[in-house]
Amino acid sequence: MTAIADLFARTAAENRAALVGYLPAGFPDKATSIAAIEAMIDGGVDLVEVGLPYSDPVMDGPVIEAAAGQALAAGTRVKDVFDVVRVAAARVPTVVMTYWNPVERYGVDRFAADLAGAGGAGLITPDLIPDEAAEWLAASGAHELDRIFLVAPSSTDDRLAMTAKASSGFLYATAVMGVTGARETTSSMAPELVARVRAVSDIAVGVGLGVSSGAQAAEVAAYADAVIVGSALVRCLSGGVEPDAGVAAVRALAEELRAGVQR
């Protein structure tokens, strides 16, 4: 069993959803990004997504886009991402979330080998679809990494089934049609999307895009196997806040979200 499969077996036994937290490596700087990830684990995050900052994050809203830009301007490199993974993976299952071009440029197999070497459990690929992922399917198999693809409310039934089959660990369901970013209300499309996945697969389903509070987390936890939170955590560190205050805010939010998924 992989680390992620273990996690979902445990949360299912505890009769709760898992809490997945996203933060980009190197934002606002490398040391603070590590401290913030430690803080969100302390606060109750079960699975960490480490973002690999990219110059053209077309699926991300302004909060994550600005964070990625700042991390790159600070000189964040792929090796820094693996350094951050190493710290997080020592405590909880940890995956990298990355757009595809940096992986391809690094070398798909080399990326998979180095991610596995850092203790990483898998990769979330927001702009790579299984139909075009032959090289990653092979590399993830060779290095025993989970591959987390995305489905969306616009996905056809055929594509849902195909994507669920190609995925392992869990499937990332985007709750709304839109980019990342905290939203005031949770999506009405998400429960239907999760139900459509359940009709064709028994893979664990994580729901992301828009969750920012404990109450929203509880709502999503009622129908999903994992609640994924990104922008709301990144926002704690945005806008030039003092690193210590930002890290404390990350921890406080993680605690609130964790209480939400256990309601």
Binding site: Y54, D56, P57, I129, V151, S154, R159, M177
Partner: protein, 381 residues
């Protein structure tokens, strides 16, 4: 490409295939071309320019189309398709503003709501076109992220589209991006080359020795080249933006100096660093200032059917000046890159050569940039 856009893109591809096969749709598009866009454009023998550069130069006058560039062909087709599939809102990205103006025009003509994304750097250097789009009823959104140029305008348009795709068409401006855009844009612009080929045969009794076009994303170039791909004696030459020179790193010569990667849903040549981060491109021409290029150009380059070479800002502006002074035609700075390519090719091919150049746009929008470049206005003027 993100999964969220896969089904919409598949639907668009099917809709375009259906429309292409529908004689009523195509007849309406041809009527709009003829009556509204003033297409076909003429082929013009530039006699004094020819004498100055030492070869016979024929200009395909896309600058005379309604809105002043080849872009109107592509936009009328995509906007008419938007009407056909019942999407009341259109979005577009624009660099120089020519595609944005053409989209705003088509949306006014066909009664579609229109939003155009444009990088902040470009809204400043192409302010005239910003005003034109607003006059035509479009909302222009200045994009302040990243390099604040065309690539970032595309990012922002994609972000809009993923949230609005149920009621919005993305009218893509160049022969790049995800399928079906590269082939749809080629289908809609290939009239440039089809017409020019026939016009050249009629005028000279033969095909040209070379066909030359500027390449940013590559829509006017693929429009010119497609008709000649089977004519192996016709050299196809794409001119990329050399900026300050390839060796300075400040350029937009994607095929000449880039490497293979994935950007905006297409695998093609790309200006990127050693870790796959997109590099900022540089060019005096906003329309060529894009770090990617259409995949069909990458293919034509890889099989050797077309060649791609850079022209620097200085070479393009010298050709711009020469066309103004010898022909009384002010070209777009984008098109001036093709003219600069023709100047070099004339020396290589000699005085008996016929060189077909796509004059893809007119230079009204560039008057401010050119006046500044040549120092034509005194302080306070």
């Amino acid at each position: 490409m993100p999964e969220a856009l896969i089904a919409p893109l598949d639907e668009l591809a099917t809709a375009w295939d259906d429309a292409k096969a529908d004689p009523t749709f195509m007849a309406e598009l041809q009527r709009m071309f003829r009556e509204y866009a003033i297409v076909p454009s003429p082929l013009y023998e530039a006699t004094r320019f020819s004498a100055a550069v030492g070869a016979r130069i024929l200009l395909k006058r896309e600058d005379l189309n309604h809105t002043g560039a080849h872009k109107i062909r592509n936009v009328l087709g995509q906007a008419l398709l938007a009407k056909r599939i019942g999407k009341p809102r259109a979005i577009a990205e624009t660099g120089a503003g020519q595609h944005g103006v053409a989209t705003a025009t088509a949306c006014a003509y066909l009664d579609l709501a229109c939003v155009v994304y444009m990088g902040e750097v470009d809204t400043e250097r192409q302010a005239l076109n910003v005003a034109r789009m607003r006059m035509l009823g479009a909302e222009v959104i200045s994009v302040t992220s990243g390099s604040r140029t065309l690539k970032d305008a595309i990012n922002e348009a994609l972000r809009d589209w993923v949230a609005s795709v149920d009621h919005t068409s993305y009218i893509f401006g160049t022969a790049a991006g995800p399928h079906p855009f590269p082939s749809m844009v080629r289908d809609l612009t290939r009239g440039i080359g089809d017409e020019a080929r026939a016009q050249c045969l009629e005028l000279t009794g033969a095909l040209p020795d070379a066909a030359v076009a500027c390449v940013g994303g590559g829509s006017n170039a693929i429009g010119l080249f497609t008709a000649f791909i089977g004519d192996s004696d016709v050299r196809l030459v794409g001119i990329e933006a050399g900026g300050d020179g390839i060796d300075t790193g400040r350029h937009a010569a994607t095929i000449s100096a880039g490497s293979v990667g994935v950007l905006h849903g297409a695998r093609s040549y790309l200006l990127q660093d050693d870790e796959g981060q997109t590099l900022e491109s540089h060019s005096i021409s906003a329309g060529l200032d894009y770090p990617g290029v259409g995949p069909e150009h990458s293919y034509l380059s890889s099989i050797g059917r077309a060649s791609y070479r850079p022209a620097t800002d200085a070479e393009a502006m010298a050709a711009f000046d020469l066309l103004c002074k010898t022909e009384g035609i002010i070209p777009a700075i984008e098109s001036a890159h093709a003219l600069a390519g023709a100047v070099v090719l004339a020396k290589e091919l000699g005085p008996d050569a016929t060189i077909l150049v796509n004059l893809s746009g007119r230079g009204d929008k560039d008057v401010h940039t050119a006046a500044h470049y040549f120092g034509l206005l005194k302080d306070g003027e």
